[in-house]
Structure formats: structure tokens, C-alpha cells
Symmetry: C2
Subunit: 224 residues, 2 copies
Amino acid sequence: MDEVKVIEIKKSVFEDNDKDAARLRAELKSRGVYLLNLMSSPGSGKTTTLIQLINRIKDKIKVAVMEADIDSDVDAVKIKEATGIESIQLHTGGMCHLDAEMTRQGLDNVKLQGLDLVILENVGNLVCPAEFDTGACRNAMILSVPEGHDKPLKYPLMFSVCDLVVINKIDVMPYFDFDLDKCREYVRMRNPKAQVIPICAKTGEGVEKLADWILKEVNNWKTT
Amino acid sequence: MDEVKVIEIKKSVFEDNDKDAARLRAELKSRGVYLLNLMSSPGSGKTTTLIQLINRIKDKIKVAVMEADIDSDVDAVKIKEATGIESIQLHTGGMCHLDAEMTRQGLDNVKLQGLDLVILENVGNLVCPAEFDTGACRNAMILSVPEGHDKPLKYPLMFSVCDLVVINKIDVMPYFDFDLDKCREYVRMRNPKAQVIPICAKTGEGVEKLADWILKEVNNWKTT
């Protein structure tokens, strides 16, 4: 099994997270590195989606992943084994979210030189991570079909702060009462500009569209 | 559509939650009311499970439900319509968990006289709710098959504090890589005394066992 770097994240001492996040974003901009903050419930398929996505884009841009988890390093190892890219594990020591300073602690352990994209896989949680700007260029989230299409009604902030909502596990749609049109409608209630991309990370269906989205995003970030 | 009481929960002022929780538990004991704290990820099927469970026990014991959500009252309405029992909605105003004082604010709005069991459906979140003793007699959680059997590795505290782990959505087991034996093993790593009960809340499979567990629990609480 591959070994990955495991970083024990310390609690932030900064008081103004919004300011710190803006500072981090400006630094990333000046280095030409795009940071994506990926959020979701536990078990919605973040890691599997990342593996599919990275294998479609790694020949076009240079990517690294930071996997945040309360404990364990299974996700970082999985990503490294399945894609070969740099993947580090951030341990939050029980904390339910990452803020900008915690994200910076992670980035300090990534070789940013020459990198185009860093994806931060946030702690699996639809509540707290939405409250903290990590300094990322964009927030994205994955909602999986078994969780139900009503989640934008129940977790409004998460859907308000995300510019991309990936609907995962569409292969099991026949076995669940999931209404994709209703879901799109609820997502737009929270964020009218949000993009919705349905995928099946297991089979790869729809992931090409996701790859196009991120490649365009990274390109815009570097050139504007 | 039925109307339900909606309570806007205020942030706690108490500093020592453990003490406050112990006090609440003692009060509930003296009144003969059993409080169950039910936790899970968003979309694991808490509400559907509760409807199935309540319809199996409501002729034997008197039950009420408190539904905690950041927003919306869809769950409290669903429970009331499907079971006819008292069901109130607690709005946490963005907060990701309930502590003992917040639970007490809810209980102040329930007619406890003659009640045997109050079920608190906590905010959908595998992280923060596990950190706060609500004053409940027991903690239980639902893990649904699509979330994956590795969750006890990633969310250790949640599985450590729960005496009952309900595995829901076993009907879709053939479509997911979920290993029930491994899951049991991981649950026991966190809490060797935890009971694991597999169910399908949609069809009712296994819910009888869950009903037996809670009836026995309530009876023990009242008689010992």
C-alpha cells in the first residue's frame, strides 16, 4: 500500500477567517494555482468522483489532492494508488470543518511549484464546512441520489455557497424516489447560478462534463 | 397538510453541558420518560425509519417526536401525518448539533404527562452531534448502505457514543459494495457493546427487531 503524508491540523488562531481566506485566495491567484473546495455528506462518493475526474484531467493539468478527515488515511491512499498524483491526508483531530488557516496548513505541505489545481476534499458534513471560507476559488458539492432530492431545503447554506452541485450515483436512480427536476429547482432556489452535473462515479458516466467544467475554471483563473 | 409546532431554538448559555445533560437525564428518569437521541448523516432515512418504528409501537407505549433541522418543517409534518402522534419541529438556526439545554428547550414544548418515549431526531451530521450529550438515555444512529461500511473508521466518535447502530436501506445492498460483516467489525472496534440492527425502512424489513429493542429499553428505564 502506498504511503501518504499525514498532516495533523492545528486549531486556527486567526480571528477573522474571511480576511484570511481572501488573503489565501490572492496568494493562490498570484501563483496561478486554482483551489477547489469539495464538500458533501459522508459516503456521497467524493473520493471515487475525484479518482474518475483526476484520471481524465491529469494529462492536461497538474493536480494535487488534500484529503481532510477526522481520522484514518484511507482516502488519500486510495487517490494516490488510483491516480498516481500527489495526495496528502489532513487530520482535523475531531474538528468538523476546515477554515482558511487550516487549509493553509495543508497547502504548506503541498509542492505548489508547477501545480495548476489543488482539490481539497473537506470533512464529510453538510453543515459546518459551509460556514467557513477556506480560501478556495470555488466551492463544489456532491449530493448522491440515495440522500434524496430535498437536501437543498434542509441544508440551505451548503447549497447557497456552492457554484457546482454534482449529483452522484445516478445509476441507482430506479431504486430511490429521487426527482432530478425537483432537485435542480431546489438547488436554484438556493443559488440561481449553480451548475448541476449528474454523474455516476462508479461507471464514469457524466464525469467528462465535470472534467470540462474544471478545466475551463482553471483556465479562466490563470488567464483573467 | 397537518400543522406542527415549530420551535426556534436559542443558543445555550450553560457552560457545563455534561452537568446539564446529567440533570436533564435525572429529571426524565423521575418522570418516567425515556429520551432517545437519533443521529445520522443527511438522507440516511431517519424520518422513514421513525414512521415505521412508531407505527409498530404506538399502541403499546405513548411516543412523541422532536425533529431538529436547520430549516424547514417537512420531517415533523411527515411524522405527524404518517403516525398521528405528537411531533414538533426544532429549528436550530444554522447550528449543527443539539446540546442538553437546546434539547430541554424542545422538551418544554412537549406534553410530557403520560408519555413513555420521546425521540429526538438530531441534525443530519456525523460529526458535531456526537460531541454533545443531549441528556438522552441512549444514543442511536442510522448508517445507510449507500454511505459505505467504512464510516466507523472515518467518524469514530459517532460510533463510540452510540449503543445502537441501525443499518438502513439493506434492500439496495446488491447495488453497492457494502460488506455487512466488515461494518459490524468496525462498529465493534468503536463500541464493543453496540447492537447492530439491519433494516429496510421502505419495506419495513427488520423494523420489528428495532421495535423490540426500544420497547425493552423503555421498560428497563421505567422499572430499574
